[in-house]
């Protein structure tokens, strides 16, 4: 199989880069080690579109964050992904912290962040009524927002696929050879050739870079643990609420999610293993101890689940994203060290990387590029009349499979049969929210397994949670 460009890694950066490249007349492959897109760092983070005042002025992080955040509403609109421009608050609890707020404000202004203001306690209370009485003021950044990272990635992947990008999942890249014109990627699905390679391999981007002899950076995986709280908590948090950053880190934030839950976290601990997504008792305790400091009424007992995200932090001194042509091979482009604000920057990263590719490999725009991903059916968001019409058209939308999130059989079939469709339980969950609710798939799990098996022509006991050995059930009892 021969392509013009091979992108390694179908996280948010890889998928949005693929989508950007799919605007042009070139053959693009998106190669992913996992069983689905968005299963690395992308799937588990704060789901925040940052305003852009954190990164030092002049860095790629600062530039791409502000640009990405500005692009996000349009990208989400085209891809039919829920995006909420709720704004963020960095809350100060002392005069000293107010100085930090002032510093962040100035940095934000220099980075080009629009409409920020330093606000006093009274205005803070008005914006965030449940905020702690100990708060003295805050930095208000109205351009910040929230988006679901895997929904954005899946939508970008689907759109890229519909515009001709080739997808390879369960396709680990084990080695790369270069003959000067073509790279040959040795993958789990055989050889894949490409003129240009984009290394968007997340926490494994250093490993991939080393395959062409580039050892200019190392990834130090950094763990962040979160709680996801029940929708019953959502009335307590209106905006993304940060505490003031200290030498110890950014601290524990609280934020609504686009689905109406509340996220609390993350912790920040450097770890050894790149795929160590275990939560720890200590980490979870740190979150539950600190989350109520901003919103004292928040109830961590109303958690639905907890999870760990891994950020791809690099050992580079400049602490910046590593994006650009490798010093070892000009046809090999690194998109590495994409930690926070990676999600916010992703739309801008896609454009930035596409520009690099186009400078090396000039290409015409496709006449028939379609920027839109059709909105998936969302039964739970429909009115009675819309539901009626939908079920009349297709009875499978009348059968509720996930009762906690009101997901129908029709939606699950769409998720499996559509482009870059779900092939396992977590894939269905991320595309439809089936199993994401209060019972955490206790009731619907076996039905989803059945539907997956039926639609994919597999045995029910071959269905996994997320590929590999993550089987749901074993052999027949008798």
């Amino acid at each position: 199989m021969q392509f013009d460009v091979a992108i390694i890694g179908a996280g948010v950066s890889g998928a949005l880069t693929a989508r950007e490249l799919s605007r042009y007349n070139m053959q693009v492959a998106l190669i992913e080690k996992g069983s689905d897109v968005a299963v690395g760092s992308t799937k588990a983070n704060s789901a925040i579109v940052h305003a852009g005042f954190d990164a030092e002025n002049g860095t790629l992080k600062a530039k791409l964050n502000v640009e990405g955040t500005a692009l996000m509403p349009q990208v989400c609109k085209e891809l039919n992904v829920p995006y909420k421009n709720i704004g963020s608050l960095v809350v100060a609890y002392s005069e000293k912290e107010m100085q930090t707020v002032q510093t962040l404000y100035e940095r934000g202004v220099n980075n080009g962040v629009p409409d920020m203001r330093v606000i006093d306690k009274a205005e803070l209370k008005e914006l965030e009524p449940m905020i702690s009485d100990l708060a003295v003021g805050a930095l208000w950044a109205p351009s910040a927002g929230i988006v679901c990272p895997y929904e954005l990635t899946i939508a970008a992947a689907v759109n890229a696929a519909e515009n001709g990008v080739g997808f390879f999942r369960n396709c680990e890249v084990k080695g790369i050879e270069d003959d000067g014109e073509y790279f040959t990627l040795d993958t789990a699905q055989g050889e894949i050739k490409a003129k240009y390679v984009i290394n968007a391999a997340g926490v494994y981007s250093d490993t991939v870079a080393r395959m062409i002899g580039d050892d200019s950076f190392n990834i130090i995986p950094r763990k962040g643990e979160y709680y996801l709280l029940d929708k019953s908590e959502c009335s307590k948090v209106k905006h993304t609420v940060f505490v003031c950053p200290t030498e110890m880190g950014k601290g524990i934030l609280l934020s609504p999610t686009v689905d109406g839950n509340v996220l609390a976290g993350p912790t920040s601990i450097d770890i050894e293993e790149k795929d160590d997504v275990d939560t720890t008792a200590a980490g979870l305790k740190l979150v539950s101890d600190n989350a109520p400091k901003s919103i004292p009424t928040i109830n961590l007992r109303n958690s639905i689940t907890s999870f760990t995200g891994i950020r791809a932090h690099t050992d580079r001194k400049d602490n910046d994203f590593v994006i650009g042509q490798s010093e070892k091979n000009a046809r090999f482009i690194n998109v590495a060290g994409i930690e926070s604000p990676g999600l916010s920057s992703a739309p801008a990263i896609g454009k930035y990387v596409a520009d690099i590719v186009l400078s090396l490999f000039p290409c015409e725009k496709k006449a028939d590029f379609n920027p839109e991903r059709p909105a998936p059916v969302r039964f739970r968001e429909m009115s009675t009349e819309e539901r009626k019409a939908l079920i009349e058209k297709d009875k499978r939308y009348g059968r509720i499979i996930c009762r906690c999130e009101t997901v129908t059989e029709g939606e699950i079939i769409d998720a499996i049969q559509g482009p870059v469709g779900a092939i396992d339980m977590d894939g269905v969950k991320r595309r439809t929210r089936a199993g994401m609710g209060r019972c955490q798939s206790g009731f619907c799990g076996s039905k989803v397994v059945e539907i997956l098996a039926r639609e994919l022509g597999k045995n029910v006991n071959d269905i996994t949670k997320y590929g590999g050995e993550s089987k749901i059930i074993y052999e027949r009892t008798k």
């Binding site: 709680y227 996801l228 795929d275 997504v277 275990d278 939560t279 720890t280 008792a281 980490g283 979870l284 958690s303 639905i304 689940t305 907890s306 999870f307 009675t384 539901r387 009626k388 079920i391 009349e392 009875k395 499978r396 009348g398 059968r399 509720i400 009762r403 906690c404 009101t406 059989e409 209060r438 019972c439 955490q440 798939s441 206790g442 009731f443 799990g445 076996s446 029910v460 006991n461 996994t464 949670k465 997320y466 590929g467 590999g468 050995e469 993550s470 089987k471 749901i472 059930i473 074993y474 052999e475 027949r476 009892t477 008798k478």
Partner: protein, 417 residues
């Protein structure tokens, strides 16, 4: 719009008993809306014996207990819609439901009985640290895989929580050839019936670890083991007591939560302890004409009590539909001193029958007394050889006693050691 006298949401033992009782009390047009493919509710997967000892005076399996009601429902003109999910309950007892045969169904009913049952607390409710690999599920989910679908959910099993479902599944998995390593229980006492400890664990040679919990799960893809640890009297893991137990499956039996999403949607008052609706002696909720019974009202340990409770709801709904409900003052009930809650939470002073108060205690008591008082007056005092949180207790308050209670007074139930 379909018009009914009574719409029953849920076709498990509670819904069926309520519908049948309403029918016997003269209600004409009744519909049961059931989300599963058959009537029977969770009993369909509870294939073990031990049901019906109180109500039928014989020992039945879950499906057999359900079957007796299913046959009765079939013999009436009660309408049943299976595979049907209720989406909303709106003002004026309007219900929307959906299935893949009729599509969207709109129903208007004079009265509604809520009988949606309960669900199991998932892992997230207790936030066990560790990996999110496969092989971690609730005991009830495993029960469905084994008993209904006929698949093994795992081979080497650790069970967290000694509630009855956990114990039953320990035996069930053993009988099907799995190795059940142990059952861990956070509390210093078991939450299951003694009979189940003996027949499900002792018989199968499965150790019960009291004051012990699972603190971490391990495994990249499939579960490979768990770390367990002993807990102190505050139920916190004791550092240094952690040990690894190999297993490919962790079954959780860590409690049940009434499924009151529809109840909340209908704006009905809920009891913070039971997580079910606040009801009167006929299980009428804070919304007139809406009744609740079974595990959606309070988690029961015996289905026999579900049946008894649901018949009250059915009778109450019939009275309401026929305009025969008594209208007196409400007397509140209150559990104190070891009594965690009482159902019903209020009693109509003009009730037409004796009233049973159902409640649970907060810890294990031996030889303690249950004392019911009204103001300074002791109404009832009964000695109980043994009480524990896992077993529902009941006392009967006579109709004439209720009538004699002055307006504004409370009935208080307490444990006296």
């Amino acid at each position: 719009m379909l018009n009914y006298d009574l719409a029953v949401i849920g076709g498990g033992p509670a819904g069926m008993a309520a519908a049948l009782e309403a029918k016997e009390n003269g209600v004409e047009k009744i519909i049961i809306l059931e989300r599963a493919a058959t009537l029977g509710g969770i009993l369909e997967q509870c294939i073990h014996a031990g049901f019906g000892l109180h109500y039928f005076k014989e020992e039945l399996s879950g499906p057999e207990y359900a079957y007796r009601f299913i046959e009765k429902v079939k013999a009436t003109d009660i309408d049943v819609k299976v595979d049907t999910m209720v989406l909303t309950i709106e003002e004026g007892n309007k219900i929307t439901a959906t299935n893949n045969v009729d599509g969207l169904i709109e129903i208007s009913a004079k009265a509604i009985v809520l009988a949606m049952g309960c669900r199991e607390r998932p892992r997230g409710a207790i936030n066990i640290a560790g990996s999110r690999c496969s092989g971690i599920m609730t005991a009830g989910t495993a029960q469905k895989y084994v008993n209904i679908d006929g698949y093994m959910p795992g081979h080497k099993i650790v069970i967290l929580g000694s509630g009855d479902i956990g114990l039953i599944m320990a035996r069930r998995m053993s009988l099907e050839g799995a190795k059940v390593q142990m059952v861990c229980e956070l509390q210093p006492y078991s939450n299951g019936l003694t009979r189940n400890i003996v027949q499900c664990l002792d018989d199968m040679g499965i150790p019960l670890k009291l004051s012990c919990t699972v603190v971490a799960t391990h495994g990249k893809e499939r579960l490979e083991g768990v770390t367990i640890a002993d807990v102190d009297e505050k139920l916190c893991p004791i550092p240094g007591t952690e040990r690894f137990v190999e297993c490919d499956t962790l079954l959780l039996s860590i409690g049940l939560i009434p499924e009151n999403e529809l109840t909340r949607m209908a704006g009905i008052d809920l009891d913070r302890v039971t997580n079910g609706a606040v009801v009167d002696e006929y299980r009428q909720t804070s919304k007139e004409g809406v009744f609740a019974c079974g595990n959606v009202l309070q988690v029961h340990d015996l289905v026999d009590y579900v049946t008894i409770e649901s018949k009250l709801a059915g009778k109450g709904a019939a009275k309401y539909i026929k305009g025969e409900s008594e209208k007196g003052e409400y007397i509140e009930t209150q559990g104190i001193n070891g009594v965690r809650y009482i159902v019903p939470q209020k009693i109509n002073s003009k009730t037409d029958d004796d009233v049973n108060l159902y409640f649970r205690v907060g810890s294990v008591y031996k030889g303690a007394k249950i004392v019911v008082t009204c103001g300074d007056k002791v109404i009832l005092s009964k000695k109980r050889p043994r009480m524990c949180p896992s077993e529902m207790e009941t006392v009967t308050i006579k109709k004439d006693v209720i009538e004699s209670i002055p307006a504004g007074e409370k009935l208080t139930v307490r444990v006296e050691e």
